[in-house]
């Protein structure tokens, strides 16, 4: 390993170092503000390191990690998401009856580190390490408010189900290794492309690894944990689960599947198509039946992962761009939606009941406006980021003649709109006789929400500069 390798790993190293620094700082001087400041500084440093690493791409650092432009792009996206979550968490944790707040940020940093490793991994070993780093940090984060039984329940559910899915994943990796004698994605792809059809052992192995991935992405039928965990987890952590965790796994999936000839392999293609369509329809259908805001967002995120699979299946030149655009839009929107829930949350619980947002537009017009924009973006209404994402995914699908999937996506965006509109209706209804007192808006969270709203509108109205960046991700 030489200097160039270290520079390429800069963002990951910066994240790891910051985690240690925040932990040590908490050991010597417990101070919530200090922890937040150090975390923000560390995330910013990682961002700077990322810019420095950009010219070195693509670079294979050890057999485990491939630092290329998509890896750096997704790491950057994750860093930004972690930054927003940190900003949101400060006010949220101040509000909640939680004894020690500093370690929370260590866990946020290690989650992001795991996500970064996943985005850059080119090998099953780094894949598994990244995934576990991500998962273990998230178990602790979900259950962080220890006095709240709902959080503990969600944490245990997540732990048990994630453990099971990891076992599937490991078994799948084992089968692939038994067949090929390698854990390298590239060699797996070469083996799959070289021979006629991949043997049964490889197919079984790959399918089992997809169970693990499907669990993390909460694709139907591996989605059962999502609503409970989203509801139980503190709102900023739920945002982290919805964005960083899913985004990282999707970035990995893009690389992993991008190497496999999915479109030529009927069995894999059918499997992905079924997963995508089931996720869209069942996710949206369950969301229709849902009243609780966080559970509703959980189900809607299941559907959104189904939409993303369409882009992935489309393959070709469009797929990486479509996934990148859609994920960015999804990040902005989901963080914003959970952010609003976080800043509305009173002491001791999250503001996820319908009554909490009833008539919000007449009590807190700006906050309601932000929430409305986020929901419209989730529904893919033009001039929001969500529309540009939907446009790209549909374009990718149409480009590859995936008519069934494109039609399913079209129908589902109409279904999806229905429950987003129902939430918007709640926001604008006449307020209840005695509106519940909402906590004052924390300054950091306000800044985060403002930035997210600007990003949402900027991506929606004038996406050209952002698309320039995306173009650099596409294979030349």
């Amino acid at each position: 390993m030489n200097g160039g390798d270290l520079l390429a790993l800069g963002p990951l190293i910066a994240l790891g170092l910051t985690a240690v620094v925040v932990m040590l700082a908490a050991a010597f001087c417990r101070n919530h503000r200090l922890a937040v400041a150090l975390t923000l500084a560390g995330l910013t440093a990682a961002g700077v390191a990322l810019v420095c690493a950009w010219p070195l791409t693509p670079r294979q650092v050890t057999p485990l990690l491939l630092i290329d432009r998509p890896a750096l792009f997704y790491t950057g996206l994750m860093l930004a998401a972690a930054l927003v979550v940190t900003l949101l968490s400060h006010g949220y944790l101040e509000q909640q009856p939680i004894g020690r707040r500093e370690e929370y940020y260590v866990l946020v940093l290690t989650t992001t580190l795991g996500a970064g490793v996943l985005a850059a991994s080119a090998h099953f070993a780094s894949f598994f390490l990244g995934l576990e780093l991500l998962s273990v940090s998230l178990f602790a984060l979900v259950a962080y408010p220890r006095t709240n039984p709902l959080c503990i329940e969600a944490g245990i559910k997540y732990l048990v189900l994630a453990g099971t899915s990891s076992a599937f994943l490991l078994f799948g990796v084992g089968l692939v290794y038994a067949a090929l004698g390698t854990l390298d994605f590239a060699r797996l792809a070469a083996a799959a492309a070289g021979g006629a059809a991949p043997g049964l052992l490889i197919l079984a192995g790959v399918s089992l690894t997809l169970v693990g991935i499907g669990f993390k992405l909460s694709l139907v039928p591996f989605h059962l944990w999502a609503p409970d965990v989203y509801q139980g987890a503190p709102a900023p952590v739920a945002a982290l689960v919805a964005t960083v965790s899913k985004g990282a796994v999707f970035a990995l999936l893009l690389r992993y599947v991008g190497q496999l000839p999915v479109s030529q392999h009927a069995a894999l293609f059918t499997m992905f198509t079924v997963l995508a369509i089931a996720s869209m329809f069942i996710g949206n259908w369950l969301a229709l039946l849902q009243q609780n805001v966080k559970r509703l967002l959980a189900y809607s995120s299941i559907a959104h992962m189904g939409y993303l699979l369409v882009a992935l299946l489309a393959g070709g030149r469009w797929a990486p761009a479509a996934v990148a655009v859609y994920l960015t839009a999804y990040f902005v929107t989901t963080l914003g939606a959970f952010g609003v829930v976080a800043v509305l949350s009173p002491r001791g619980r999250d503001a996820d009941a319908p009554e909490d947002i009833l008539g919000l537009a007449w009590r807190r017009p700006w906050l309601a406006g932000v929430f409305t924009l986020m929901l419209l973006s989730l529904a893919g209404i033009p001039l929001t980021a969500g529309f540009v994402g939907k446009f790209f995914v549909l374009a990718a699908g149409v480009n590859s003649n995936l008519w069934l999937l494109a039609a399913a996506l079209a129908v589902n965006s109409a279904i999806g709109l229905f429950y987003y509109l129902r939430l918007i209706v709640l926001l604008f209804r006449q307020p209840a006789p005695a509106p519940a007192a909402t906590p004052p808006l924390p300054r950091l969270a306000a800044a985060a929400l403002g930035a997210l709203t600007l990003a949402l509108l900027w991506l929606g109205v004038y996406p050209a500069p952002f698309l320039q960046l995306i173009r650099m991700l596409m294979p030349d």
Binding site: L376, A406, A414, L417, L421, A464
Partner: protein, 517 residues
């Protein structure tokens, strides 16, 4: 043409947005300032659209006032207008001004948000008519839904939420289909510039064209609304506040038929021909069914809403007859319908504001108390049923004349719609205005005040003008209509003008152009 350095089409599209931002900056308590700002902004907007007439060349063939910039990918910020868009833009800005003025005393709570949404709606409406890039068009088309949804959902009647969600879902379902279509076209042409698509001469291949046409058709037909996609309309109209109804009937419905004219016919000429019989039958059902249902209504707004279904059926009939005369008549009829139905909704709004009911049975003998109102109502009723000398006659007559050479049977069936139209409108007028003034609640009704009269005057002037001297309106339609007919029905111009009527075999349906490849 630019004003203060801003290209005129961008200016007229986004000027209301400035007004909206201005209103959002005003404190909610300053009701007077908010009302005045909204009214002044929409008035200036109307004057700006009138300024278009100054630079518009009535006899030029192509698009005018073009603006072109790259947006993202190969999608362009492309604007331009021809005679068809010009008429609809003028209609939009006039009706928005009138709708704003009519809200002065009708809307009592959350004024700031109300006027902000109204202005945002105008941005979307004007944007739809000036866009010549499919994605840009789609963006305005969808964005417009949001303010309309809020106008119905917040300031509507008792079942406002049901109506608002139904409105949004129906239109969104149609427009998502359209988005898939636009992407198919994007895939085929590599861009979404409508003009280049048409001029390139390349068309989608057979079956694909049929599918894409069908999906576009559903998207537009929901908006028109055509039978059987019309069920959202009565709900939306009944629950919407008066200004919402005026704009919904006057402008939003026209977007569907505008879509047929601007996109369906030129982009999918073969498919348009193939689907012509189906569409004609649907249009005829809409005409007769809408009129019959109108006869049965007890609620005035519902009656006018169903009459819109019938009238818009005429417009669709004229468009898909694909003769220049019928097409010109259809476009003129879009404007006529905007004027007369917009006015009728205002008329209902006037008594609703005073009595808070729209049931016909609650009224009777109003002409004794409200003579000016009675006169205005009468003029608009006659305009709506197509009395010669008023605007409705010209449009309907041209549509029927233009459809006759295509099929006498269709023309005959459509004519019954006019008779039924006279029946339900005159019966409505009779029940509301004549008879004994026996309901005590109606004894003290006030006649129109000056502001209310002002909302009607421009519409009456337009109705009479188009009725007596439609030539200026038809002149600017000549070229665009000819361009469309040449694309979709090129044989039309090869037929000798003095052909004896028997030679055009009427029962063969689509006449000469039937053999288009």
């Amino acid at each position: 043409m630019t004003i203060l350095g801003v290209p005129i089409l961008s200016l007229i599209t986004f000027f209301p947005l400035l007004g909206m931002l201005l209103i959002l900056c005003l404190p909610a308590a300053r009701i007077g300032a908010i009302k005045w700002t909204a009214n002044i902004v929409t008035a200036i907007e109307f004057l700006l659209t009138l300024a278009l007439l100054g630079g518009f060349q009535a006899t030029a063939s192509g698009m005018q006032f073009m603006e072109q910039r790259n947006w993202f990918l190969n999608i362009q910020y492309l604007m331009g207008i021809d005679g068809i868009s010009l008429l609809l833009i003028l209609l939009t800005s006039l009706l928005t001004f009138i709708a704003t003025l009519s809200s002065w005393s009708a809307i009592k709570d959350r004024l700031k948000e109300y006027y902000a949404f109204l202005l945002l709606l105008e941005v979307g409406m004007v944007g739809v008519f000036v866009s010549l890039d499919l994605v840009l068009f789609y963006v305005f088309w969808e964005v417009m839904l949001v303010p309309m949804y809020f106008l119905i959902g917040i300031w509507g009647g008792e079942r406002k939420l049901y109506a608002a969600i139904k409105f949004f879902l129906y239109t969104l379902f149609g427009s998502v289909l359209m988005l898939v279509d636009i992407l198919v076209l994007y895939h085929h042409y590599g861009h979404t510039n409508l003009l280049t698509m048409i001029s390139s001469g390349s068309r989608l291949a057979g079956t694909v064209q049929l599918w894409v046409f069908a999906a576009f058709f559903v998207g537009f037909a929901i908006k028109v609304p055509m039978f059987p996609f019309h069920t959202w309309l009565p709900d939306a109209h009944v629950e919407a506040p008066t200004a919402g109804s005026v704009l919904l009937a006057g402008v939003l419905l026209k977007m569907g038929t505008y879509g047929f004219v601007r996109f369906s016919l030129p982009l999918f000429p073969e498919a348009s021909y193939a689907f012509m019989p189906v569409i004609m039958v649907l249009a005829l059902i809409a005409i007769v069914y809408g009129a019959l249902v109108s006869l049965m209504q007890k609620d005035m707004k519902k009656l006018i809403a169903y009459s819109s279904v019938s009238h818009m059926g005429f417009v669709v009939l004229g468009i898909f007859a694909m003769t220049p005369l019928a097409l010109k008549g259809a476009i003129l009829q879009m404007v006529n319908h905007g004027i007369s139905t917009g006015a009728l909704f205002l008329i209902v709004g006037i008594v609703y504001e005073r009595r808070h009911t729209r049931l016909i049975a609650e009224y009777g003998g109003l002409s004794a108390r409200m003579p000016v109102y009675a006169a205005v109502f009468l003029i608009m009723t006659l305009s709506s049923i197509g009395l010669p000398g008023l605007n409705g006659f010209i449009g309907e007559f041209m549509i029927l004349m233009g459809t006759f050479p295509v099929s006498w049977l269709w023309t005959a069936i459509a004519s019954t719609g006019i008779i039924l139209g006279a029946a339900y409108m005159l019966w409505l007028y009779q029940r509301v205005m004549f008879g004994k003034l026996d309901n005590p609640a109606n004894q003290s009704l006030a006649d129109l005040n000056l502001r209310e009269l002002c909302t009607f005057l421009p519409l009456i002037v337009m109705a009479v003008w188009i009725g007596l001297y439609p030539k200026p309106f038809l002149t600017i339609l000549d070229k665009p209509v000819e361009n469309i007919v040449r694309l979709v029905h090129p044989e039309y111009y090869n037929i000798p003008l003095q052909k004896p009527p028997t030679a055009v075999a009427p029962s063969h349906g689509a006449a000469a152009g039937h053999e288009v490849k």
